[in-house]
Subunit: 166 residues, 4 copies
């Protein structure tokens, strides 16, 4: 079964961050992985473009009520109608995620992935310090291609603590 890599980041972003996201998406598609994202603009759109131009499958988990909210590169739009709660579905569906940039939605997805035991690779994203200074297993990447490579490698090693029941 294909590897699923998520790219998370904000819906409005700088040109530099968009270039990073597009290169990450392209690298994910080159590796034969499916890209999962939130389906909207900014980082999501740039990553989708990179993956779709490379012939990849792009799943867009939309927060709203309309398929046409999806950016034009999404090949499988899923209309959740769940607003922020769709982030949980995104993280759960992936073997690893790449977090790009530093807004709050991105932070919540990093945290959810850490909680669910799904590897997170960060590219110019948050620095987190736990109060008891335990090590936070956030993998830091230097470039988008490095991020994709680390995410795909980490995808195989994923811990399996996905539910509060477990």
């Amino acid at each position: 079964m294909a590897v699923h890599i998520g790219v998370v980041g904000e819906g409005v972003c700088s040109a530099r961050v968009a270039r990073d996201a597009e290169r990450a998406g392209a690298a994910i598609a080159r590796a034969g992985a499916i890209l999962f994202c939130g389906g909207l603009g900014g980082v999501m759109e740039a990553a989708s473009r990179g993956a779709a131009r490379g012939g990849g499958v792009v799943v867009g988990l939309l927060p709203g009520f309309r398929r046409r909210d999806a950016n034009r590169w999404v090949t499988v739009p899923v209309v959740t109608g769940l607003d922020q709660a769709r982030n949980v579905i995104l993280v759960r569906s992936c073997d690893a995620i790449i977090a790009i940039g530093g807004m709050y939605g991105t932070l919540s997805e990093i945290a959810l992935a850490l909680k669910l035991g799904i590897p997170v690779v960060g590219l110019r994203t948050w620095t987190l310090r736990q109060p008891e200074r335990r090590r936070v297993p956030l993998i830091v990447a230097a470039t988008p291609e490095d991020a994709a490579a680390r995410a795909i490698r980490a995808a195989g090693t994923r811990r399996r603590a996905r539910s509060w029941l477990a």
Copy 2:
């Protein structure tokens, strides 16, 4: 953009219902539409098999926490972790749904689709009588191929009342 057709029905079903679901799935793939389903066994698996054998894309919106819950024909598994609430995502993501058979989960998906203005085609499914005897716009199909054809036709005519806000 591709047409999205959902097939809903129970996770355990008779051989006859499974044959119907498989033929419906095959007809959906032949028409070039994407099949959306709940990703598990019974009607969901049979429809997935029909579509996947025909080369179609099969999105499985899984209720639980594990990708491996998906039947083997699902090509895009989405792990929602939302149990029954994933039915809302399934219905919302489709242009029309086909309901096969008569258990309660199927009834809830029929009702949700009617609520959200998404056409529903029924194949040997529930008969519903509204207390004021208003007409319920449930399209009745005679065969699985008829169901697929009616669903694809209805997909173009979908009303757009998707949110309580609207």
Copy 3:
């Protein structure tokens, strides 16, 4: 622990249906049960008014993003932001539900409750015929007070099949 009774019905309703809902809410509060509802207008507001005037606790599970969407009788507003998916929470949180009137949202809540093994009492609501003509355990009430009494009695007998995992 208190008994939880849900009242489900549409957000816009006739004066007659509203009177029924208000009497059902009043009877629920008199019995010392907590009323759960969707928190908006119509049947939800009328049931809330009946319960709150009788000194009862009224939990409103709101579909949208704002607490002020709640009708004025809700004492515990919960802001889900999940649109229709909040219906699943409503049904799950109750020991029994009372369905009043006959629109599609109500039908979806009846179906969910049947699916989850939560008793449903209907008051001038849908008539359902299963394709294999199995008996549907929908309890029919003659009056709002009868509906509340039957719901509270049924609350004790609830089957426990709440998850697809079970």
Copy 4:
């Protein structure tokens, strides 16, 4: 309408963190606010105990399928069946939240609250550094009583950016 204050923190915690949570819960009840929490053990249970012993209302938004998962101090258990996605409901329903301690679930709730414009008060919790070093509006409290006082004060000043639509 009553002020809603959420207390978020892990389901297993040290005795010291539990004492902090209990004192925060007690201060919330003394102020006449409703306590919202995840309804389980650890920080959630300690905060619930503090509030319930002070005569307060305690809403527990449970991740699982059973009301009896609630700790004994919860007065209004809501059974979401949504696992981690219930955190979104918790944050959305509050005017301010208090984050205690430093595990990943807590971090995701801090991030969600920041995203939704809901004030967050931290007590021995995460230190966050945004990549462009913008100021993160996380209010730091010295004691549980200070946290409750700051949360209640901040509740009045809440920004209103609750949906990606807004």
